[in-house]
């Protein structure tokens, strides 16, 4: 075999299931030296699972991983790193209390005799940071850095290793435009050095700029793979989604022109997160919230609900001012909130399913002692109404699949019979089938005259479900789009601050 054509890293017929939920089906992927390979797919398509398998974080259920033609069965990511396969995480994996240089050399500290060779480490760290054109100091503590600087440290950490294959999982999610360009220049230099690069993103514009080859995943299946040349952006987008958006989303509820305003926020200020944001929500409407992660959408909503400190602003319910100082007050005003962090904030994972379901509205089951029989009844009703599927008898919330956890969480917040339902990233990390059920459920909510606020990073969701879309950028609510304005390009422009309120102000800053 010609050694030049042997891929540096190759996955053959890789499959993976979590519990009963299969997320990858016989996927092939080959990375060649000096090539930037883009991996495309919607959220939940299986991209992250695939790269975690390739970089040794996760074993495949079946299929094999080859490095330079040799079979490997990694027991840990350390073994993959020894082969020169380095991954930059989407979620930052840095030790917060340590300094930048300590992080960069964590686990492979340079030593002189028994002691750390601090000077050499600082020197190499400085070089790496200089190559990234970032102003981060090697001695700065990671916890004091902003998200984009932390991302740069993560990248520096990867490139200071003896890297042969570099895997980047959505590295630009929290970077500014300028930082993205610096990163791309670095990627170019690594490519010239013969490094194989796997670049995961769903931003097609970026892919066009740097990729040599693309692979598209959809719902865990390999859909398309080949050179970028000859594949248009539109075609790739269609391959990624695989179906017309209209098929995926139910038609919207008709909202009459004179629908009353049920919730209004005026000039909300959250220090360090939101600058004077205002919006209204009408009865029967889905109001989408778009913007990049960290734009202040969650901070805005949570400050309204009393979950977060608010420096200024007024919240009005049915045209009367209300003072929501604790989530309990919001619940009393019949506002329900579905957090985006299902496992960290939504469900008590080591608790049973019934107590999880009734936790938000427990007083309804107390007179004054908890009525366990009624709790059980409520649970059976929830299973039926929300189609929660229990594998045998699951004992704790941790044992449910992502989709079923989301349904349990939905059942939990619906237990207060809300008029307003605020849903944050409703379909993160769940399978397509459950996604569609959740979309239908949102439609049922608005049909029943309830109002929905939908915070989502999935463009398709915002476009397919919302009556209006509010877009935020760096803490500023840049605009509220309606009708024809609701399309990918327009949302992107408001989300990046090119268009809309405060755009000038930001350009100056």
């Amino acid at each position: 075999m010609d050694s030049r054509n042997t891929p540096l890293l190759e996955g053959k017929r890789i499959s993976r299931a979590f519990g009963g939920n299969q997320v990858l089906f016989d996927v092939d992927l080959a990375l060649h030296p000096g090539e930037v390979h883009a991996l495309l797919g919607e959220n939940g398509a299986g991209k992250s699972t695939l790269v975690r398998i390739l970089s040794g974080y996760l074993p495949p259920s079946s299929g094999e991983v080859l490095v330079a033609g040799e079979r490997r069965a990694y027991g840990s990511s350390g073994e993959a790193e020894a082969d020169g396969i380095v991954m930059i995480h989407q979620e930052l994996a840095l030790a917060e209390q340590l300094s930048v240089e300590e992080n960069i050399f964590l686990g492979r500290e340079l030593r002189r005799g028994l002691f750390l060779d601090r000077r050499a480490m600082r020197e190499r760290c400085r070089e790496a940071l200089a190559e990234l054109e970032t102003a981060v100091a090697p001695t700065a503590r990671v916890k004091d850095l902003g998200t984009s600087d932390q991302q740069m440290v993560e990248i520096a950490k990867a490139v200071t290793r003896d890297v042969r294959v570099l895997i980047m999982d959505e590295p630009t999610a929290s970077l500014t435009e300028r930082e993205v360009q610096v990163l791309f220049a670095l990627v170019g230099r690594l490519r010239e050095r013969g490094v194989a690069i796997l670049y995961i993103s769903h931003k097609l514009r970026e892919i066009e700029q740097i990729a040599d080859r693309v692979t598209v995943l959809r719902d865990g299946h390999l859909i398309d793979s080949g050179p970028l040349e000859g594949r248009s952006k539109e075609e790739l987008a269609r391959l990624m989604v695989g179906r017309e958006i209209t098929e995926m989303y139910p038609p919207r509820t008709q909202v009459p022109d004179d629908a009353p305003t049920v919730l209004e926020a005026r000039d909300i200020v959250v220090p360090g997160a939101v600058r004077r944001a205002s919006f209204t929500l009408r009865k029967g409407e889905v109001l989408g919230f778009g913007g990049v992660v960290g734009a202040g959408r969650t901070a805005l909503i949570e400050s309204i609900l009393g979950l977060r400190y608010r420096a200024a602003g007024e919240v009005r319910r049915h045209d009367a001012p209300v003072n929501l100082r604790h989530l309990r007050d919001a619940v009393q005003h019949r506002i329900a909130y579905l957090t985006e962090d299902r496992k960290g904030k939504g469900l008590v994972l080591n608790m049973g399913l019934r107590p999880n379901l009734t936790l938000l509205n427990l007083r309804a089951y107390c007179h004054p002692l908890i009525d366990r029989k009624r709790e059980e009844q409520a649970f059976q009703q929830a299973i039926e109404r929300f189609d929660i599927r229990l594998r045998t008898e699951a004992l704790t919330a941790a044992e449910l699949s992502g989709g079923n956890q989301q349904k349990l969480l939905l059942a939990k917040v619906m237990s207060i019979d809300p008029e307003i339902v605020i849903i944050n990233e409703p379909t993160r990390g769940i399978d397509v089938g459950t996604k569609q059920e959740i979309y239908l459920f949102i439609r049922e909510l608005t049909d029943a005259g309830r109002s929905v606020i939908l915070i989502s990073s999935e463009m398709g969701e915002l476009i397919g479900l919302s009556h209006r879309v509010a877009v935020m950028c760096a803490g500023v609510l840049t605009g509220i789009l309606e009708g024809e304005q609701i399309n990918e390009q327009e949302i992107m422009q408001y989300a990046s601050g090119i268009k809309g309120v405060g755009a000038d102000e930001q350009r100056r800053a």
Binding site: G346, L347, V348, L359, L360, L362, I370, K412
Partner: protein, 322 residues
């Protein structure tokens, strides 16, 4: 299904220990010995029931031993000073009891508020108050011992030494506190919230639970339990000093842990705690009845049992789950 070791472990251990006791000395099962043992375990037991709530909700209270000493000291001073006015009668004792409960609640409230509003770890806050209460009682006693008026002592004495239906009064108090604790932890909103907060405070907050309020309440409850334990402790010796209640906090925590409550919160069991408290006293009792092991090694045996108990609850059994 096999016996659930996590639930029944403490009970099985208690039975094994009891059998061991009988084998060593048949007098172990004597009515006098049993009732004496339960009476002694009542102090730690009552305090440990309060601690079960604090620990289940993810907190910790190191101040209970000093708090007991401080409350005992103040109680004695108050009762002694009221003798002139009310005489050595029931009124004086009731004032003492009332003062004890108020002090307990107040001290618990301070622990709770400083932890939650000040956002300081419970370990640090209660380590601080532990030192404060301990030094306050030493100061009040002027480095010596506070002694209860002899006439008052005669009136108050039965609270520790008398029996009702053949069962000593401290054991009754222990039992009643345990039953109330059991209902509170397992059948009320407050109890459910303790579990939720101890498991994941963020989830509790996002479930519209007043987290600070519930946590503070657990410390207040702990304070009340300490006050109750002090009320039955004072008539036993009729005195208090800087050495009163030393290391009670660790015994209480040990009883809670042996009983199967998880130290980092989220899971608590009242009956386990009751068994844990009895076991700790039983170890000392058995060592008293035998010459095989020196009485001075009481702490060693207790220490080994605590570690083994927790090991049995945590080790390999975990792996049977999915």
């Amino acid at each position: 299904m096999a016996i659930d070791l996590k639930t029944w472990g403490p009970f099985i251990a208690l039975v094994v220990l009891a059998i061991l006791g009988v084998l060593i000395n048949p007098a172990f099962l004597g009515l006098d010995n049993l009732s004496n043992m339960l009476t002694r375990s009542a102090f730690i037991g009552i305090i440990a029931i309060g601690a079960t709530f604090v620990i289940t909700a993810g907190g910790l209270d190191l101040s209970v031993g000093s708090m007991a000493a401080f409350i005992a000291g103040v109680m004695i001073i108050i009762m002694n000073s009221l003798v002139e006015q009310f005489g050595a009668g029931l009124t004086t004792v009731l004032f003492g009891v009332g003062a004890s409960l108020i002090l307990g609640m107040g001290a618990g409230f301070i622990n709770g508020v400083v932890t939650t509003k000040g956002k300081i770890e419970a370990f640090i806050v209660t380590l601080g108050t532990m030192g404060i209460y301990r030094s306050l009682v030493t100061y009040l006693a002027d480095g010596g011992t506070l002694t209860l008026d002899w006439n008052v002592r005669d009136i108050y004495r039965p609270v520790y030494y008398d029996s009702l239906l053949g069962i000593p009064i401290p054991v009754w108090v222990f039992l009643v506190v345990a039953i109330i604790g059991y209902i509170l932890l397992n059948f009320t909103r407050f109890g459910r919230y303790c579990f939720a907060i101890g498991s994941n405070e963020k989830v509790a907050e996002y479930s519209a639970i007043h987290v600070d309020r519930v946590k503070t309440l657990t410390y207040v409850l702990q304070g009340i339990c300490v006050a109750l334990a002090t009320i039955i402790y004072v008539p036993r010796l009729g005195s208090a000093s800087g050495a009163t209640g030393v290391l009670w906090e660790l015994e209480a925590i040990a009883a809670v842990i042996i009983g199967g409550t998880v130290l980092k919160g989220g899971h608590g069991r009242i009956w386990g705690t009751v068994v844990g408290a009895i076991m700790l006293t039983m170890i000392g009792n058995i060592l008293n009845l035998t010459d095989a092991i020196s009485n001075y090694l009481n702490g060693t045996v207790q220490g080994i049992i605590i570690i083994v108990a927790v090991y049995l609850q945590r080790a390999s059994w975990r792996k049977t789950g999915p």
